[in-house]
């Protein structure tokens, strides 16, 4: 499909058109601790952000989500579905996050279709932004998820100095910019994008070879590194794991959740709620009569890392995209890339 360009100062025209028709969410702060929230005008939008605390999975799999409400009347149940039909645009997502959404798509549309997820996904439009300033924790390049994007977007923006290059990735994308007078991108503009891509790749300092990650898991189930991480002094300059769950909660590909019912004081009306869960918490592996599949902290952190290496049940659907959020958020300074490297070295 054709590519266009827009002057940076004209971005307002583009955004204003979107705001007329959709709810728009985008990065609302610069820096690493940004967040994707509602944008009401161009002044709210900070496309120069580096990363967000919580990944955009919150738009498809909210931390807390009421699935349906129920009522018991004369012995019969009455069920009311909660349907969210809001159409929205996610503006300025980085390639790592878009790739993570593609993984979630696979997971939630497998054998069991999750209509709550799919409904939200159907109503979303993704305007991605190639990452020209990867942060110090990013290793998306190694995980084939960035810093530039090649699939999964409806519209893709690339910062080429005074302009943005606009590429269309789907019919949805084509439709929403219809009616706007945009200049066709020149060969020179596309060349500029290539250059930016090379520059961005060079800025990424954390490098891993993703091919040996699942193998690492297979060969190191009983490695002493897990005891170091769980109980002793940590690994490669980190403190031991706190099992606080922050890593998995901010992770764009961690989809594990818990489902429970709540009732009101009449004991007749209630709702079924889905809540984001974390394998780092003791209760996650708990079963009836007090059994627990992962009682020890070392087993929990090992499980999470293997899952991110693509070696757990989720396989590629839950494996890492290299966004670096877990490294940034860990109070113990645990760095998954350093743990992987330590495992490789100590083999």
């Amino acid at each position: 499909m054709a590519s266009y360009i827009i002057d940076k100062k004209d971005l307002k025209i583009l955004l204003d058109k979107f705001l007329k028709e959709f709810k728009v969410y985008g990065p609302i702060k610069p820096g690493l601790d940004s967040s994707v929230d509602e944008i009401k005008s161009i002044d709210d939008l900070h496309l120069e952000y580096k990363s967000t605390i919580i990944s955009p999975k919150k738009f498809f799999l909210p931390p807390k989500d009421t699935l349906f409400e129920f009522k018991i009347q004369k012995g019969n149940y009455e069920i009311k579905e909660i349907v969210n039909d809001e159409k929205f645009i996610l503006f300025g997502l980085h390639p790592c996050d878009v790739n993570a959404i593609l993984k979630l798509d696979e997971f939630f549309s497998g054998k069991f279709k999750d209509k709550y997820y799919q409904n939200r996904r159907k109503n979303s439009i993704i305007i991605a932004l190639n990452c020209t300033q990867p942060g110090e924790n990013s290793f998306c390049k190694s995980m084939n998820a960035g810093p530039f994007l090649y699939k999964g977007y409806d519209i893709l923006l690339t910062d080429i100095d005074t302009k943005y290059l606009i590429e269309i990735g789907s019919d949805k994308g084509k439709k929403i910019i219809q009616g706007l007078k945009l200049n066709i991108a020149s060969k020179n503009d596309l060349l500029k994008k290539e250059k930016k891509c090379k520059l961005a790749n060079k800025k990424i300092k954390k490098i891993l070879d993703p091919n040996w990650l699942p193998k690492l898991a297979e060969e190191n189930l009983d490695h002493e590194i897990w005891i170091d991480l769980g109980e002793r002094g940590g690994v490669a300059g980190s403190f031991p794991c706190l099992s606080c769950g922050s890593c998995s909660l901010v992770c764009p590909t961690c989809y594990c959740y818990d489902i429970y019912d709540t009732v009101d004081l009449s004991l007749k009306n209630g709702s079924r709620v889905r809540e984001l869960d974390s394998c780092q918490l003791l209760e996650y592996g708990q079963v009836a009569l007090g059994g627990n599949f992962r009682k020890d902290r070392k087993d929990r952190i090992r499980h999470w890392m293997f899952c991110k290496f693509g070696a757990a049940a989720g396989s590629k659907n839950s494996s890492c995209v290299g966004c670096g959020r877990c490294i940034r958020v860990c109070p113990s300074k645990i760095d998954i890339t350093k743990v992987a490297k330590s495992l490789w070295r100590k083999k």
């Binding site: 605390i53 706190l242 004081l265 004991l267 958020v329 109070p331």
Partner: protein, 253 residues
């Protein structure tokens, strides 16, 4: 309709804040008294009966020989005994005095301590079997309701013991430890509060007590790395749950 379950609310060594939290359930209070027969609650009513209780909510820890007798007596008269709040669970703030000689703390407070007969402060679990714990200083209204509703339905209450960090992430907050280098207790403290303090930019003080399986020593090392000295760290772990087995070492036992 079946007979309403009988509830008793008792106060031992505590500040009465946990009982106040029941009063603060303004939206649900009238529904609650329709469902339960509040048989004993000195703060709320004149005539009290502490016999044959279905549920007893115990606020406060044990700090005198009489309280030891009292809690044993309540246990005998109750089917389901709940440690209601941190004081009943592990002594909480009153237990800070356990780290100084009894005589010294008595002399600070009383002009003539010769009449005072008090013990070190412990949770009620030190003396009697406890059936459920409601964490918090005070417990959150939602968890009180969850326990009472579960009692009516005869199901296990959903009282999670995940760390404050989980609720902090649900709120979308930046981490006060990694982003601001502040000594937040969140990673070892049980949630249930909705991460109110960190959401307002203040560190977690630890008022819900230890989470399940906390790594207190790791957090103490992180605090040392941020620049706290050993005394500061001890004080932080002693403040709400110094008597808990999970925090004992870091609190300086």
């Amino acid at each position: 309709m079946a007979k309403k379950p009988k509830i008793g609310v008792f106060k031992l060594t505590g500040c009465a804040g946990c009982q106040m939290e029941i009063f603060r359930m303004e939206d649900e209070f009238l529904d609650l008294i329709k469902l339960f027969d509040i048989s004993y609650w000195k703060m709320a009513k004149r005539d009290n009966d502490d016999k044959d209780l279905d549920i007893a909510l115990i606020e406060g820890g044990i700090s005198t020989p009489w309280e030891i007798e009292e809690i044993k007596c309540i246990r005998k008269n109750t089917k389901f005994l709940v440690a209601f709040g941190d004081c009943a669970i592990g002594g909480c703030i009153p237990s800070i005095r356990n780290w100084i000689p009894q005589m010294e703390s008595e002399e600070i407070v009383y002009p003539d301590p010769s009449k005072i007969c008090s013990t070190k402060v412990h949770g009620i679990g030190e003396y009697v079997k406890v059936d459920a714990e409601l964490k918090g200083c005070p417990p959150h209204r939602k968890t009180i309701l969850e326990l009472l509703k579960s009692a009516l339905l005869k199901i296990r209450p959903r009282l999670r013991q995940h760390p404050v960090c989980v609720e902090c992430k649900f709120q979308g907050n930046a981490c006060l430890i990694t982003s601001n280098k502040l000594p937040c207790m969140g990673p070892v403290i049980s949630g249930g509060c909705g991460a109110i303090c960190p959401t307002l930019g203040r560190i977690c003080e630890g008022c819900f007590g230890p989470m399940s399986n906390p790594n207190a020593s790791a957090l103490a090392n992180i605090f040392r790395d941020i620049g706290l000295n050993d005394e500061d760290i001890k004080r932080k772990f002693r403040k709400y749950s110094g008597m808990s087995p999970e925090f004992r070492l870091e609190a300086g036992h």
